[in-house]
Every structure is written in structure tokens, then in C-alpha cells.
């Protein structure tokens, strides 16, 4: 896919839609309208959009607890996703999964996950199915830096490497596992270096640069589709908000970072600011057009909020639906 003006502006729109969505739900959460919690990815939008832009329609996606951006980048219906975050009947699981369990099977988004590191093996298994059926698809599996210290990372990447499954592992290194800085959690902060242990290519890219992410993931996807096996892409960025909306609302819930660190990253490495500037330099975006796109993306969220807030609550009996698939021999 050549990165034409249209393609780049579409990527920008998607990044901005994610930003408005997550700023919007943060406000809804403060109003007490969101059950439980939710994990926003403000500062990580370039990883979501850059990665998903490298996929074809038929490809699969597996993601994490911090996945609103991945769903929106992949083209899931913003109304359905917001309704799910709000726990409404019109959400993708009818309000039973919430923010951590988003999916859109019509778009091959096979689900997100509440357990850190659990999606890595699942993404490998989707890759195994693709390989066995020779369908020419690819599975992209997102996870964070925190997941790379779980055993599932080692077991999953090793087996994916042994079997050469067409899975692309994308690590969003946002530098924190809840309050734990990555530099204190990983003996070697270069996560991509671990790829050599699993006999696969490793890429370490600036995760605030959507084009850099796209190029790396695109190479990995091409390799996987060719039948040459998995890759590990580490996209280094920064989580500009706290671990979760709920924790950010707790007194002291975001006090674990050095003073000025968040502000510094926000000023220098906000992926939206960087990309906007780049588009202007390329002559693809004027201030006026930027304002208009901003208003349009905000409206996408406002309309979704209108839909979701006015959606019905799930019926009590729906709680018992979907525990088991229908009985019977097929």
C-alpha cells in the first residue's frame, strides 16, 4: 500500500478518533457511567494505527486489556465498542465483557483479554490454524511490555518460532506495567533483542511515529504471509495516562512516576502532534483542515456516546446466555 495523502490522512483520522474516544470515556468514567474500569492508550495511538494499517481485511487480530485503540484502528463500530465499555445491551458482548473484552468477529477481531500475556499464545494458535488451512491470512497479536516477563511470552514466541506460524507479535512498550517502570522489570530493556532467541526477526521502532510502526509491521506481515514465520515488533512509546481510569481517579493513584516525566513526553512525543506536524510539512494538512477533521472525529464520539448512553440495559436473563454453545453432535 503506497502511503498516499489519502492513506496518511485516513491514518491521522483514526488516531484522532482513538484520542477523542479515550478522552471522552475518561470523562464518562469520572461521571460514574462506566462499570468497573477501562485502560486508555493515550500516547499509544500510532502503534495501533500503524500496525493495523499493515493488515489486510482477511487478517486476524488478538489484543489486550488496553485495546480500544486497536479495535477502532481496525475498523470496529465505534458505537458498539462504546456501548460495550458502558456495559449496555447493544455492546459487542451485550454488556457482559466490558472494556477488557472487546471483539468484532465480522472483522476477524477475535477478542481482547483481561489477563496480561494471555493473548500471546492465542495469537500463536490462530496462526497455527491459518498455517494448517493454508488460507494466506496473518494474525497480529498485541501485548505490552509487562507481558514480556510472563512465561506465556517465552512459551508462545518459542512455539511460534518452532512452528513458523504466520503471527506478528507487536509489543507496545509504553514503559510501564501498572506502576513498574520497564527499566526495572526487564533485565534488558531492548525487548526486540529477545527475537533472536526464538529465531525470528526483531524490530525496535519509535512507537510515536505511525509511519515507522507501519513500515516495521508491514515487513513482518509480508514475511508471515510468505510463509517464513513470525516476527517480533517492539514499538517504544509512552503511556500518557495512568494505568486505568479508575486508578487515575484514586488519590495518589498516579503518583509513581518522576515529576515532569509525563509532561515531558506529552510535549515532545505525543504521536498525534508529531503526525500532524509531519502532515503539515508534507503539505497534506492545513490548520483549517486539521480543525475540520478534529470536529468530525469528535462528532464520531459524540454520536457514539448518544447511541450508547441511550441504549438499553441488558435483560437479567441474558447473564445466562453464551456459557455453553448449543448441545448436539455436528
Amino acid at each position: 500500500m503506497p502511503l498516499t495523502k489519502e492513506v496518511l490522512l485516513d491514518m491521522y483520522r483514526r488516531m484522532l478518533t482513538i484520542r477523542h474516544f479515550e478522552e471522552g470515556i475518561t470523562e464518562l468514567s469520572k461521571q460514574g457511567l462506566i462499570p468497573g474500569t477501562g485502560h486508555v492508550s493515550i500516547g499509544e495511538e500510532a502503534v495501533a494505527v500503524g500496525s493495523c494499517s499493515a493488515l489486510e481485511e482477511k487478517d486476524y487480530l488478538i489484543s489486550t486489556h488496553r485495546a480500544h485503540g486497536h479495535l477502532l484502528a481496525r475498523g470496529a463500530d465505534i458505537k458498539v465498542i462504546l456501548a460495550e465499555v458502558l456495559g449496555k445491551a447493544t455492546g459487542c458482548t451485550g454488556g457482559k465483557g466490558g472494556s477488557m473484552h472487546l471483539s468484532d468477529f465480522s472483522q476477524h477481531i477475535l477478542g481482547t483479554n483481561g489477563i496480561v500475556g494471555a493473548g500471546i499464545n492465542i495469537a500463536g494458535g490462530v496462526g497455527l490454524a491459518i498455517k494448517m488451512r493454508q488460507t494466506g491470512q496473518v494474525c497480529l497479536g498485541f501485548f505490552g511490555d509487562g507481558a514480556t516477563n510472563r512465561g506465556t511470552f517465552h512459551e508462545g514466541l518459542n512455539l511460534a518460532g518452532v512452528w513458523k506460524v504466520p503471527t506478528v507479535f507487536v509489543c507496545t512498550n509504553n514503559q510501564y506495567g501498572l506502576s513498574m517502570p520497564q527499566c526495572k522489570a526487564c533485565a534488558n530493556i531492548d525487548i526486540s533483542a529477545r527475537a533472536s532467541a526464538y529465531n525470528m526477526p526483531g524490530y525496535r521502532v519509535d512507537g510515536t511515529d505511525v509511519i515507522a510502526v507501519y513500515e516495521a509491521v508491514k515487513s513482518a506481515v509480508t514475511r508471515a504471509r510468505r510463509g517464513d514465520g513470525p516476527s517480533l515488533v517492539e514499538a517504544v512509546c509512552y503511556r500518557l495516562r495512568g494505568h486505568s481510569m479508575r486508578m487515575d481517579q484514586m488519590p495518589g493513584g498516579s503518583d509513581y512516576r518522576p515529576k515532569g516525566e509525563v509532561e515531558d513526553w506529552a510535549a515532545k512525543k505525543d504521536p498525534l502532534k508529531i503526525f500532524r506536524q509531519k502532515l503539515k510539512e508534507l503539505g497534506y494538512l492545513t490548520d483549517k483542515a486539521a480543525e475540520q477533521i478534529d470536529a468530525e472525529c469528535q462528532k464520531l464520539f459524540d454520536d457514539a456516546a448518544d447511541f450508547a448512553l441511550n441504549s438499553p440495559e441488558p435483560k437479567p436473563e441474558s447473564a445466562f446466555q453464551w456459557i455453553y454453545a448449543q448441545e448436539g453432535v455436528k
Binding site: 477478542g111 499464545n121 496462526g127 490454524a129 491459518i130 494448517m132 455436528k330
Partner: protein, 325 residues
Amino acid sequence: MPQRQVSYREAISEAIKEEMARDDRVFLMGEDVGILGGAFGGTRGIYAMFGGERVLDTPISETAIVGFALGAAMAGMRPIVEIMRVDWMTICMDEIVNQTAKMRYLSGGHPEVSLVIRAAAEGGIGLGGQHSQSFEAWFAHVPGLKVVMPSTPYDAKGLLKSAVRDPNPVIFLEPGVLYGVSGPVPEEEYVIPLGEAEVKREGKDVTIVAWGTLLPKTMNAAQTLAEEGIDVEVIDPRTLRPLDIDTIVDSVKKTGKLIVAHEAMKTCGVGAEIAALVQERAFDHLDAPIQRVATPDIIIPVNRSLERFVLPQETTIVETVKSIV
């Protein structure tokens, strides 16, 4: 014509072969399931028949084995996974309990997670504390899973074939000491529906619900007791989730007495659940307190006489029956 005799392990491999031949979405993966044919021989001959593309030997990576199988199932395959021993399913409990069991519910009812996880269970062969346990209660506690534990070659084959065809995840537990035991298995194809108990022996004096290794021990005990004039009814639930409680309750209404016998630890075992259900549904029919025959809360020792001492035996069952009849 006398019926064909087949060992439990042969019944397992026959079921897998037939289901792999029937449905090309079915494949086999796990440690040593391929060229070796399984650490306990349950997958012998399958690699030779279907090759390495559908019979996948895995590294010692339990979380990857179940996690990959789940991913493959979500993309439309129907994996049969072997975790060598139920003891080691503890290593991949997240993949089983938080992922596999909940995937359909947490995905808006979309994927059919047709996935069988087989494992050897129970003790009796001197393998010690980390190779002798029986965790059927752990999995029966989890909505989204089905739990099957057959005690005869005939049941093992028919139930495994149903498990493979089931659109839900099934934990399939195979009592290790029974692998070499043979029984009648017909040549012709058959399946046994999940969730149906079987009355293995009719009687009128006392009902014993038993499964796994305790089923043959109970059948022997029933024979001994019959010679002393005590008429025992023996029920094998075969599937522990969903549990066919109706068959058990009907029997208790007839006999008025219930013993549940399993090799798993007594505390919080499935026997406790069955006792609770029966007193809820047939309290007025009970003529004696419900008894449990189970392994006391202990770590299974290796020494032959110690192991024999702690695991319930035929004599334990006989004594328990006599205490309430």
C-alpha cells in the same frame, strides 16, 4: 460372536483416529503424542496414520499448548490436546479457566470453542505427590467447561468421540491405572452422549456413585456384598459436568441410601456436591447419612504400601456399606 476386547488406551486412540478421519478440522497436539504415541500410550499409531501435520509434538510448554489450541479453535479448528497428567494442568490453569472456559461468553457468543483437553488422572502406580492427583472437582467448578471421566474402555471411546464433536471445551480425564485394562468395545461406530450417567449394576439396598479407579473397585465390592446378601446399585456418572443428577436421585429414592466413592481428596470433592444435591432433592427418601469414600486430605506417597493405605480400596467400600446398611 464374542465381543472384541480392547484396552482403555486402545479405545482412546481408536476414538481419536476415527474422529480425525471423520473431520479434517480435528488435530492432535501435546507432549510426546506423536512418534512416541503418548507417555501412557493413548495416541499410539495416530502419527503413523495422519503424519506430522495433524499430530503435533510440542515442547514442554503447557501454557502454549492450551493457548495455541484455543487460538486454533477460535479460528475454526477442533484440537485434541494432551496434557500428560492432570497434575500439570495447574501449569496452564489460566489458559483453561480464564481463557478457554470463558471465551465464548466474553466474545458475545461468537466462537464455538471445540477443544478437548485429555489428561491422565488418579494414582495407584507409585508416581507420588505431583503425578497422582485427581482434580476433576477443580474443573467441575468452572462454568463453560464440561468434565468427563470414563471408567471403562467402552465409555472412554464413546465419550471421547462425543467430546471431540461437542462445540464446547471438554476436560477429559483418564484414570492412569485403567489404561491397560481391557473390556468389550464393538467394531461398529458408536457415541455416548455427554451428561448421561449409567447404572452399572442394579440393586435395591444402597446406591454407590463411583467413577474413575473407584468404579471397578466398587463393582468388586458390590459382588462381595452380594454374596453377603447386600444388594448394591452402582452408578457411574461418567460426565461430572454437566452431572446427571436425575439418575442418581431416582436411584436414591429406590434404595434410601447413598455412598459416593472417588479417589480425589475428600474435602470439596465432587462427592460433596453430589451429597448436597441429593439432600436438596431427596431428603425425605434418605434412611441414613450420605457417606463419602475418598482419599483423606493427604499428599499421595510413593511407597506401595503407603499409597495403598491412603487410597480408598475395595475393603473401604465394603466397610462403608456395612456401616449404613
